[in-house]
């Protein structure tokens, strides 16, 4: 429970910290799209037909590059790798789960990587493609996690909300309550640390009453968790009531026109923050549409399996 590195703002003064939050959101979204692209190439299947199938070499290289880029971004923004690794550590279970699913239900139409092993008795074969599939999803997950960490680790929650509000501004024409939604999000974000603090405090209080949150049998641990959750519920309801009262006392009107103390401004850095992810996404889309270009450019001279 002590590891809340994921998604926490860490105040440094790096290039990425200084980027405009609006550009950062856009840039990260563009890179996320890169993560979710599929790369296929035509393959002849057992029946002699040409079908589209995952291009493993290309997928590995393209997703690997995003991985390297994410690590680079984390490094630029001074995030500690240890905290990243610590949050990835809990993913091993996901990996096993994925492996089991992919082995039981192979998704590939054409097996290109060969047979891993075969159980003659059950007439059941396991292909390396299943492992590659699980690996691909894992890599995607990690890329996604790291990119999100870059965004939330370098942007103050409030700045994020302002940026979201800015993006939602055009929806105001359709009477979409952009300001209210932004307010709700910023309140939610504002209370994450408070709730964490509360839960730490309650955990401490219950620990001194002999609750062991980390050890003991399931039943004991369930009581332990209940002793944490119920007080947490009670205190968050109290807090929300207090907050609502405080807002009303100060005459908060969601529809009022309001001004900002902190104004967001685009700077020269933001040009890079936009152009680099955009160019990368362009390249990725181009190559994913036509993988032969990739084969020509990147793999020319390399012997393909």
């Amino acid at each position: 429970m002590k590891n809340f590195a994921l998604g926490r703002y860490i105040p440094y003064n790096s290039f990425i910290h200084k980027l405009d939050p609006r550009v950062k959101i856009l840039g990260i979204v563009l890179l996320m799209v890169c993560v979710f692209l599929n790369f296929t190439h035509p393959v002849v299947n057992d029946a002699g037909e040409t079908v589209k199938a995952t291009y493993w070499t290309m997928t590995a290289i393209m997703q690997g590059s995003v991985f390297v880029l994410s690590i680079l971004l984390l490094w630029i923004s001074h995030m500690s790798f240890r905290s990243v690794l610590a949050s990835l550590r809990s993913l091993w279970f996901t990996l096993i789960f994925l492996l089991v699913i992919y082995i039981l239900v192979p998704t590939q139409t054409v097996m290109q990587l060969g047979l891993a092993w075969r159980v003659e008795a059950w007439n059941w074969s396991v292909y390396w493609d299943s492992f590659a599939d699980a690996g691909k999803i894992m890599l995607r997950l990690m890329n996604m996690l790291m990119l999100t960490m870059v965004l939330t680790g370098t942007t103050k929650p409030l700045d994020l909300t302002y940026a979201l509000e800015w993006y939602m501004a055009p929806l105001k024409v359709l009477h979409f309550p952009a300001a209210e939604v932004a307010m709700t999000i910023s309140i939610a974000l504002r209370f994450i640390p408070t709730l964490l603090e509360d839960s730490m405090r309650i955990m401490k209080a219950q620990s001194s009453r002999g609750v062991d949150f980390a050890h003991g049998n399931i039943l004991k641990r369930i009581t332990g968790v209940t002793s944490l959750i119920i007080p947490l519920f009670v205190s968050s309801f109290l807090r929300s009531e207090e907050l609502a009262n405080a807002m009303e006392c100060r005459g908060y009107d969601p529809r009022a026109k309001r001004t900002r103390y902190r104004l967001l401004k685009f700077g020269w850095r933001d040009i890079f923050g936009f152009i680099i992810p955009a160019a990368l996404l362009g390249l990725y889309i181009w190559w994913s549409v036509d993988s032969s270009v990739f084969t020509q450019f990147v793999l020319s001279g390399v012997v393909l399996p």
Partner: protein, 285 residues
């Protein structure tokens, strides 16, 4: 055996830009059977300090020794059986009413003893005793803790710790937010527990309580121990620099002496001792 802090430091958010050294090389000893106050301005590390006694925090440097238990910066030296330690040291946090969660008051109070291995019936019996001790009668046993008033909730949560029968009782601002009568009842309760042989460590801002109840004081300032002394000699000094306020009773006695009375200020702890001293000085005349 005492509670001993040997060169203890504690850093919050270590190795990050938000790192904050809350305790700096603390060396103190809290004697068994004492009623010790820990005082100092807000944010000086009092609560961090007491969390170490219960091993809720592990020191970044140095070690805390509580009887046979060791809470050390060195993982290998640390005592593994935290449950035994926590049974021995009861810690009542600031605003403890937030820890209530059970359906009934008695169940909530019995929660601690049950965790420490007591049987259901014994735990309930201990709960009933503790509840009577804090001044909540049978009528409260079956009620939901959430429908009680703030003061009653606080009593329930303190009973929850008392029911575990700790040898050391650490209380963090037990009177915060209570009315004057409620605070007095609360403190008299701790005095009673102390008389019964429990060592009490009281974290507070209220110097009146320190004068009335405590026999030794640890003054903290900015993460360091500024002074280890007893209440009377503490109030004889300039304590404004620790943002502490001289107790009203002490001021009164000083003012009376300034007007010509001759009262031994070291012997005045509360109203009844003041009366005794007045009588003595009258007889002397």
């Amino acid at each position: 055996m005492p509670v001993k802090f040997a060169d203890v430091s504690y850093v919050y958010n270590k190795k990050s830009p938000m790192a904050f050294e809350a305790l700096k090389h603390i060396n103190i000893e809290i004697k068994e059977g004492s009623f010790t106050a820990i005082v100092g301005r807000t944010g000086c590390g009092k609560s961090t300090l007491v969390s170490h006694i219960n091993a809720l925090l592990n020191p970044s440097e140095g070690e805390v020794i509580i009887d046979e238990f060791v809470n050390s910066a060195d993982k290998k030296k640390r005592t593994k059986k935290l449950k035994d330690l926590r049974k021995k040291v009861g810690l009542v946090f600031q605003f403890p009413e937030y820890q209530l969660f059970e359906e009934t008051v008695e169940k909530d109070v019995a929660f601690g003893p049950k965790n420490f291995g007591m049987k259901e019936e014994d735990a309930l019996k201990a709960a009933h005793e503790a509840l009577l001790e804090v001044g909540l009668n049978e009528g409260f046993f079956k009620r939901s803790p959430f429908e009680l008033s703030g003061g009653e909730k606080r009593r329930v949560s303190i009973a929850g710790i008392l029911a575990c029968k700790p040898n050391y009782l650490v209380v963090d601002e037990p009177t915060a937010g209570l009315d004057p009568l409620g605070s007095k009842d609360m403190m008299d309760l701790f005095e009673k527990v102390h008389q019964a042989g429990t060592t009490i460590i009281l974290v507070t801002h209220d110097m009146n309580l320190v004068l009335n109840y405590c026999d030794s004081v640890i003054v903290m300032d900015n993460g360091e121990v500024a002074k280890i002394t007893d209440p009377i000699s503490l109030f004889g000094e300039d304590i404004e620099k620790y943002s502490l306020e001289t107790p009203l009773l002490y001021k009164l006695v000083k003012d009376l002496n300034a007007k010509g009375k001759d009262i031994d200020v070291a012997k005045v702890k509360d109203i009844s001792t003041l009366l005794d001293q007045l009588r003595i000085s009258k007889e002397a005349k």
